[in-house]
Symmetry: C2
Subunit: 345 residues, 2 copies
């Protein structure tokens, strides 16, 4: 969300009346007293979110931040939507191996492809990062950017999560959508900053999160400008990693894309640590939050912080937990802080 430089007048918001700002075309409920975070239980996490919004929008307060600098960044997998039992994009990549197998007869006898084609779940569960990289490179490259996006769109419209039997895009966290809406209404510029593939997430970011493709920063493969048979310029996807948007890559790429430092950052794993640290170092009011998956009944429970199970997907270590508590980062417990998890209840 951009602002004309002449329109920086904002309503000073009391904690009880955080709501949409005027001048944005966002809505007319600026004076509403409705709870902007109804899916959150009362607690330190919810209070700190509301407090930060109050601080940075209070024109007469010491924590006031002009809208142009209200940048908020969100990890995706495990922060905005479900990442278990495997990352959605990995499911997509495995499905693509099956779909593309007829064009690659050698895959039947070549690991890691052969395990996928044989449906060998035990072998797939043991795939190394290198195995997954080989599968991603083989299935995500060689076509132009529009063709790839169309393939993802077709897949995501049909694929379903095995546990809920619903589209993956239904499995976004309602409490986080409320935070995004609240921040957007208060002049924040929101970016998804995902370790996943930028072009994968961009295909559904607008309909799922209300964020256009330019608001998605993610891991990215190189593209190469070339000409199709009609002599038209096309961008072909190349099997070379340009941006690895994990760990240190997150602050590096946030700066590359926005030239700014976030005021608020949300994550859930060690892959988000540097993003939250870098947000901290900016000084002034800051919000850093980690989502803790401690609700096996309603979603999943994994850590290994606080003795939660150590799974391969989305690692929240004890060291990360200690860094968070030592530095005033919010650890939002899905079990106690979130009244509801999904919009479908």
């Amino acid at each position: 969300m951009q602002f004309s430089p002449n329109r920086r007048g904002f309503i000073s918001l009391s904690l009880g009346a955080i709501s949409a700002l005027v001048g944005q075309g966002v809505g007319a409920d600026a004076q509403s007293n409705a709870d902007p975070l109804p899916s959150w239980n009362d607690g330190p996490a919810k209070r700190r979110i509301l407090e930060l919004v109050g601080e940075v929008t209070n024109l007469s307060g010491s924590g006031y931040v002009p809208p142009a600098r209200r940048l908020a960044t969100f990890d995706q997998d495990g922060t905005l939507w479900v990442e278990h039992p495997v990352y959605t994009q990995v499911v997509f990549a495995l499905d693509r191996v099956v779909a593309l197998a007829p064009q690659h007869p050698q895959w039947k006898t070549t690991e890691p492809f052969s395990a996928v084609l044989a449906g060998d779940k035990a072998a797939i569960a043991k795939f190394t990062t290198k195995d997954l990289e080989a599968i991603v490179l083989a299935t995500h490259t060689g076509m132009d950017v529009e063709s790839f996006a169309a393939t993802v769109r077709a897949w995501i419209a049909k694929a379903k999560h095995p546990r809920w039997n619903r589209p993956y895009t239904d499995l976004v966290y309602q409490p986080m959508l409320e935070v995004m809406r609240l921040l957007k209404a208060n002049g924040f510029d929101l970016y998804i900053v995902t370790g996943g593939g930028q072009d994968f997430v961009r295909t559904y970011a607008e309909s799922t999160y209300g964020l256009g493709p330019e608001k998605v920063i993610g891991s990215a493969l190189e593209t190469q400008y070339s000409y199709n048979a009609r002599g038209e310029g096309v961008l072909m996807r190349q099997p070379r990693l340009l941006l690895n948007n994990n760990m240190s890559g997150k602050p590096e790429d946030i700066y590359l894309f926005t030239g700014r430092r976030p005021l608020a950052a949300f994550g859930n794993s060690t892959g988000d640590r540097q993003m939250l640290e870098w947000t901290t170092a900016g000084g002034g009011p800051r919000l850093r939050m980690l989502v803790l998956h401690d609700d096996a009944r309603r979603e999943y429970a994994y850590g290994p912080a606080l003795g939660l199970p150590n799974t391969k997907v989305g690692t929240f270590t004890q060291a990360l937990y200690e860094e968070a508590t030592a530095n005033g980062w919010i650890v939002a417990s899905m079990k106690t802080d979130w009244r509801t998890i999904f919009s479908f209840g």
Copy 2:
């Protein structure tokens, strides 16, 4: 400029009444009949710009494009501001060699630095791309991103162009500022897409063009996340090129940053060719414009298209001119299409 998905109603604009749209906080002159391009003489270039805006905003026309897809990209050097006799960033880099020389005693006897320190203009004029790269890497890296930005800001506030004895930021083209304002007022999302350094241009883009740092796509060096003496996260500038935002790099990086294809693209040299081609290939109403520097009296004259002098900075070849005319790209002549060139007249 972003739009809330619920606010896509736009005024249908007649050619005589192109003006700011409502719902943006852009202005109150939506019904004004004032010429939005007063620095342009009447002619095919001006008419095509107004025509495109009319086409894409006309809700009942076949050329209507939703605001979210109204992307316009602008080369900077030679398109938005003066690039002669040398690129401004090169002047900055040479000045930095002098400023940093005391910390690098070996530069006195090492080319290309020694030529700069000796003020040997003949040798400097013969610098190869490799020489300039060595100077840029030596002067633009090794510090954190904030320190570099502060150095650029201090320099650009004081440096003056030798011909006009004015700050470089005064030497922006008034006709292009009017085009930017017109497109912005009509829902376009504007990006500067420069072969120059992204972090250099970002320091003055907001005050000069009204575009925040996230609207500047440029050549970029890698940064590396690390920790300063106080244990705070910082991004250190590295001597490795991450993005070469020239030629094919322009469409590749526009897609990397925005996930979209431009609807309008503006350039002035062979470095912009692929950006304009890629814009063309999108189908539907399109605007592609090249600025031709054919006015030695008011600015500079260089080509070598149409027999204009062949200079080292900003090459507009005869082949580019022929590609432009064959494909309906506008070639805007500074001499005949621009009534005024600078705001200071």
